[in-house]
Symmetry: C3
Subunit: 310 residues, 3 copies
């Protein structure tokens, strides 16, 4: 049943997908994130609140937003989907309107339904930050990937990025392909043929070539919980055939790096000993995640409250 | 098993039921809530803590208290009933005494057992605020209803309020009847005959008349999770027979308003398009909920800590 | 599968077991806890974060740490094991490294696996405080027990402590025996013979003698959830045979006290009316728990950040 809603009263800027950000805006966001990385924290003294609505399990994203919010001095309204009125059948829209009425100034949502935000974006008067919609979009993950690459190479133009794993089922991966190419990077995809996308076939490169070409090996997580991987043999076989093995990394270029969004299946998509090796930027990505989320919160609050919102 | 407890050492004022508040006290509380609405926040610099014990799902009430507590500058001790020692069989009394010992200055409790507070009130040395006891009392919900009516009409005397829905199983409804009449309002009840109370029969009015008489249509939520509604036909039939339909609202008086405690079953007790219509004060009620909870917290902390507690 | 990890870069002091604390260090910690008890709070203005990882139900310990952390002005990163990526199979090590990357300055962990910390201690660069490892260690519980005894008697030398209950399955009990004897106390154990330890047999004393000898009756909780107590008869029989009955306490010495780590099975290991009687220090223990946790946090942050960390 579609619900009747009131259109929002003013132009509110949400952060929902990377497609909605142009190149200039992306660079501005990354500049702000790097400023936060340098000085780290800048707390508002205003009584402003962020509401975090997480309908799916998430360690990294939820805690990263909580750290970013506290770094900015925002109060947090903790919404626990497991004990909420959603159990009483309340719609997502009514839940968000409730948070708005209670005093949330910004809301972060992670929800298993792809594009859950389409039914919200024109009706909610506070900024929505998408913390992940099912297999769909995850803009703050993309931003932290971009920040990490930019930190390493100082540019995107000409940087060769191999995204390896389940491309077909990962819209985040496809979204990264799109934005990296817009920024000037050369993007390849790798992994089992069954997991490749028709539209991506021109970008395909086998793993053994990939490691020699790549400046960045961006490994994807095998998402056991989202789809069966019965097509593929056991974890060891997968690792040998398509994973980042120690042997393969020995053929990587001197300055090449390894990225992974985590949580990691050690020994499957990436060899155990590489996770914290010298090429790995995996934990650096997590640290950057806090800074890009601070920058995203800062961005939407500037729009909503005025440039001097703090 | 009854437990032996130590009587509390001083007079502590709890907020448990509306029956315990006289007319003067109610007006004072509403005045304070309106002051908070105007200036919104006034934070203590003292290290004071509120512990929130929610044994039942609740979005609105829990988040509303958390917002109110943070608005006042209180620290929060988050008690998650699902992962607590209550699982090890600890009594509610021992749990609350524990929170008191750990440093809570006030405790908010929502519990499925009606009058759970009777075994606590004479023994706990910090103020207890009842956040709802089963089908029993919910004083902060009553206060926010009163605040919303007073904002609209500037008075209670002579205001005609129709409470519509499951009167029999809602002590909150019956509690609202009692307090509204004490404050001078004229109260009617409406809904299916099976859901009416013997004692309420003199106040009964059919829905089609109700909409023409009411200044306030106070709709109750059909609580699917609390009792079966097999007596009643399907949701559409219920809506036609007893719900607030678009057609019925067209016969409402010019300045009449619609209220609902939420969460809402859109299309059952109230038509979807009315929820955010011009007559609706439903989301306003939620905003007022934060202010009355600030006023209630302020009230009990004044009693416990002295008038200048902040 | 063992994971490859990077050794930590600096000497980080964790708080994992009492065995690692010498007598001088213990006294220093207790002195600091008593200072916190006197002035109660001293908040940092730095943006520092404590991450709390609780994989097991716990009211007291979790809330006590949260109160201690807020008293010191630390921000809190709430890690909810039930909704975390641990569900996606992430290792404890990777989870803690994630929290470190996100900005946690100290991490408190409670985990059902005994000595879970052995796989972390040499690799994690922020202090780990053990909030309990299965039936293993629980150093902050030991510290609060020691603080409570010291407050009462001003010393440990010669104080006669009877620990009564399931000694065999409680490493915390055995750990308390060890540390109390190191501090000069005379320790006895009591309870059902089936629950005694070979190594403890020289310390055994029957309950009826125990109450006459003890300065401190330290009752253990019957942990229904950890092991079956089928060996033992019903709760009433247990109470009569091995519990602290009202009759038995009448034979206790004038200044003797009763302790219990809680949650309490009223009427089983201790008579209901004794829980809040004049000899009981049970709720005092909980209050002290906040102070020792403040002292432990202060201790590790001094090591990690320098003596003037605030």
């Amino acid at each position: 049943m579609m619900s009747m809603k009131t259109s929002k009263t003013a132009v509110v800027q949400h952060v929902l997908t990377m497609e909605e950000w142009n190149v200039r805006q992306i660079h501005e966001l990354l500049t702000r994130a790097n400023e936060f990385a340098d000085m780290k924290r800048e707390r508002t003294t205003l009584p402003l609140y962020a509401a975090n609505l997480f309908f799916e399990p998430s360690t990294r994203t939820k805690l990263s937003f909580e750290a970013a919010e506290q770094n900015l001095g925002l109060g947090i309204l903790h919404f626990d989907a497991a004990t909420s009125s959603v159990k009483k059948g309340e719609s997502l829209y009514d839940t968000v309107r409730t948070l708005e009425s209670i005093g949330a100034d910004v809301v972060v949502i992670r929800h298993e339904q792809e594009r859950y935000f389409d039914e919200l974006r024109d009706f909610i008067n506070i900024p929505i930050i998408n913390g992940g919609d099912g297999c769909g979009h995850h803009p703050t993950q993309s931003f932290l990937d971009l920040m990490t690459i930019q930190q390493e190479f100082g540019r995107f133009a000409g940087v060769k990025v191999v995204i390896a794993g389940d491309i077909r089922h990962s819209r985040v991966a496809r979204s990264n392909v799109e934005v990296l190419e817009r920024l000037g990077a050369k993007v390849y995809v790798s992994g089992p043929k069954e997991w490749m996308d028709e539209a991506m076939s021109s970008r395909f490169i086998p793993m053994d070539e990939a490691v020699e070409v790549a400046d960045v090996m961006m490994m994807l997580r095998i998402q056991h919980e989202r789809h069966t991987v019965q097509l593929i043999a056991g974890p060891n076989d997968y690792h040998e055939a398509y994973g980042l093995t120690v042997e393969r990394t020995q053929r990587m270029k001197d300055k090449s790096i390894i990225m992974h969004p985590a949580p990691i299946n050690r020994g499957v998509e990436i060899a155990d000993e590489l996770v914290e090796g010298s090429r790995s930027r995996i934990f650096k990505q997590m640290t950057n995640g806090v800074y890009v989320r601070m920058a995203v919160l800062d961005h939407v609050l500037r729009q909503a409250k005025g440039g001097d919102w703090k």
